[in-house]
Amino acid sequence: MKEVLLVKTGELALKGLNRGTFEEVLIKNIKRALLGLGSVEIIKAQSTIYIEPPAENFDFSQAENLISKVFGIAAFSRAAAVSKDINTILETACVYLAPILKTAKTFKVESKRADKTFGLTSPEISARSGEAILAEFPHLRVDVNEPERRVTIEIRERLAYIYEGKIPGAGGLPVGTGGYAAVLISGGIDSPVAAWMMAKRGIKLMAVHFASPPYTGERAEMKVRALLTRVGEYAGQIKLFIVPFTEIQEQIAKNCPEDLATVLGRRFMMKAAARLARREGAAALITGESAGQVASQTLQALVCTDDAAGLPVLRPLIGMDKEEIIRIARKIDTFDISVLPYEDCCSVFTPKHPRTRPKLEKVLEAEKKIDGEALLVKALAFTKIEN
């Protein structure tokens, strides 16, 4: 008997003619996620993807952990794969599932027969399996409505698969099927969550971070890398661009009205990120902004920053409370990194009383006080790129 992982794709089934492409991308993502565990064989059939491990000592629990972070998977199960002989199937079901059936009280057998040449019908397979299990585990009771354990037997083209239950997957769409976008990442709680949410919708990510030495230090950059590693467990490889931002912030602080410093700084971040995004072929920007959370995230301030972007700005957290954002940050394991207390590019030049309802005309006028174009070109020329 060998074991495999059965992966059920969810929403993919809805995608009509695109389904083939979606599945191809998903398979590629699964392969990449499992790269460290040896070369797995992946076969697709109907709405199921079969992951066959290469060797005997395959680390299934690690594989399950990695698979649970691949977007585009609705659920997955660890299953026994045996030859399509009814006696072998019955025997294997009793042995393979013994640990869970021993401690259960009720169960049900569900059968699927994809191979219509198989001698028994689905109800017949279920009935025979149920009998065999009851004979082996007399303490069990069949409950077709609310069983504690759902034993599934699938008869496929080559083999029969036996498993119990389903582990929920990460949901969403395979990363890479939804285009490419640039996330602005500061090191706080919100931006990694925003990045994760857009990756969940199939968007491949690049990241732009603004560093302001000496106002910010090496640790702030290390923090961003650590955050991207965590998000990358879901979103795959994320190219990181580190833009030196000190001069722009100093020039704004020196020459522009103090109460507009934050919104002006954010405009330049948008401009820089948009240029990098265009250069990389990314179609949109992603930020962790949530309406009204701070002065720079009021609707009026967002109007001013949007104006500078020149690309669509995706803000998946816009309607969320801090508590809801933190809940996701904890789930994807970025929270503990985000709360490390280093100065970041947003915290240093914060004015005492930032304008909460900046007017675009006023902001544009203030922006004219510095040579923004020259500063941007210089910052982009000194941008560090990390893969």
Partner: protein, 391 residues
């Protein structure tokens, strides 16, 4: 007195290391001793064969020299993994299994390994009195006698503050305790001597327990000791093979302990070193006094630590600016998002002073030229870094 200079290999630039209260470079004598204990003389002091016996003999020799540094008898020394463990052993050891019935006294300026341990005791139901600090950073002892109670089990006050260098009058505290309880059962007095070792004299004549650490005096990290006066009963935190009089069982960290002793022996004899620190301290202060934007927060004390604020520039910003020039200092752990220095806050310093605090701390490897480099960089940083309302 000075060993080789620290050089930044990449750029062949001199590194100015002024963060010796965080940790120090291991001196060659200690490094050599540690290597020997790791590779050739690696025996377990408890083993009965000759390799083990030689280890035992060395361990006891180290115990003698470390005991001398704390004015203790060799049998009064307990080796630990460092200052934090020693402080925890004192506090939880004194609390024993009836923490909730006991009272403890400490100060607002203590190290986190003391304050957090007491916080834990409070959580377990104990009563903890925290003495305030005076504006010079020392513990304000005016209310101290009134703080003592019948059920007081332990008083813990550090000998030297790690952020300001303020020296507490531990002798007065000890005498106050003796006088207050006069013949009755009295609480123990513990002092955290981590920043005091080799800087001021330490002695069990004026304390019941003293915490020591190796890596602040050019010894290896992960090695510390607690001097415990005979007759002071502590309940251990660990249980095992009976080492260190059952107070801290576990195979002795021989490389660490021997390295600690070697580092201590390599220190210039007292008071040569404090005199040198006072020279550096006074020299730094004289240069800083030329900067109207600098406020000095330390008030002398141990002279190896100098805390000051560059008004208008956040600690972390100046720290990074200096680090770019290979000048390493410490922020007073002030940070917009993180914790403010609890020590400077307890000294009632204004917010802007706390936010911009820096700590420089000397070792015998520093030279007056280091201070010249530091002050030139501070001046440059002050001119170039953006400040609120200026530039």
């Amino acid at each position: 007195m000075f060993s080789e200079l620290i050089i930044n290999r990449r750029e062949c630039r001199l590194t100015v290391y002024l963060d010796n209260s965080a940790t120090t470079r291991v001196c060659p004598e200690a490094a050599e001793t540690v290597t020997r204990a790791l590779t050739s003389e690696f025996g377990n002091p408890s083993s009965l064969h000759s390799l083990g016996t030689r280890a035992y003999v060395r361990l006891e020799a180290a115990r003698r020299s470390l005991a001398a540094s704390a004015g203790a008898k060799p049998e009064e020394m307990v080796f630990t993994s460092g200052g934090t463990e020693a402080n925890n052993l004192v506090i939880f050891g004194a609390a024993g299994s009836h923490a909730s019935k006991k009272h403890f006294v400490t100060s607002a300026g203590e190290h986190h390994s003391v304050l957090e341990a007491f916080k834990r005791l409070e959580h377990l139901g104990a009563e903890v009195t925290i003495l305030p600090l005076s504006s010079d950073g020392t513990v304000d002892l005016t209310g101290f006698p009134n703080a003592l109670k019948e059920n007081t089990a332990l008083i813990s006050v550090m000998a030297v503050n790690n952020e300001t260098g303020a020296v507490n009058n531990t002798e007065q505290i000890y005498k106050t305790i003796l006088a207050h309880y006069h013949g009755k059962k009295r609480p123990f007095f513990h002092t955290d001597g981590v920043q005091a070792l080799t800087k001021i004299p330490l002695s069990l004549a004026f304390a019941d327990m003293i915490t020591l650490s190796a890596h602040k005096i050019h010894g290896p990290k992960g090695s510390g000791a607690l001097a415990v006066k005979k007759g002071c009963q502590l309940s251990p935190m660990f249980f095992g093979g009976g080492q260190e009089r059952n107070l801290r069982p576990g195979t002795e960290n021989l490389p660490g302990i021997l390295g600690f002793a070697a580092a201590l022996e390599a220190c210039p004899p007292y008071p040569e070193q404090p005199r040198f620190f006072k020279y550096l301290y006074d020299y730094t202060c004289s240069l800083l006094s030329g900067f109207p934007f600098v406020k000095i927060n330390s008030a002398g004390g141990v002279y190896s630590i100098l805390n000051f604020s560059v008004l208008g520039i956040k600690s972390e910003t100046m720290l990074h600016f200096l680090a770019k020039k290979d000048i390493f200092v410490s922020s007073g752990s002030a940070c917009s998002k993180g914790k403010k220095s609890h020590v400077l806050a307890a000294m009632h310093l204004p917010e802007n002073v706390i936010d911009s605090a820096l700590r420089v701390s000397f070792s015998r490897e520093n030279k007056p030229e280091d201070i010249d480099v530091l002050c030139a960089a501070l001046q440059e940083g002050y001119e170039h870094i953006y400040r609120k309302g200026k530039l």
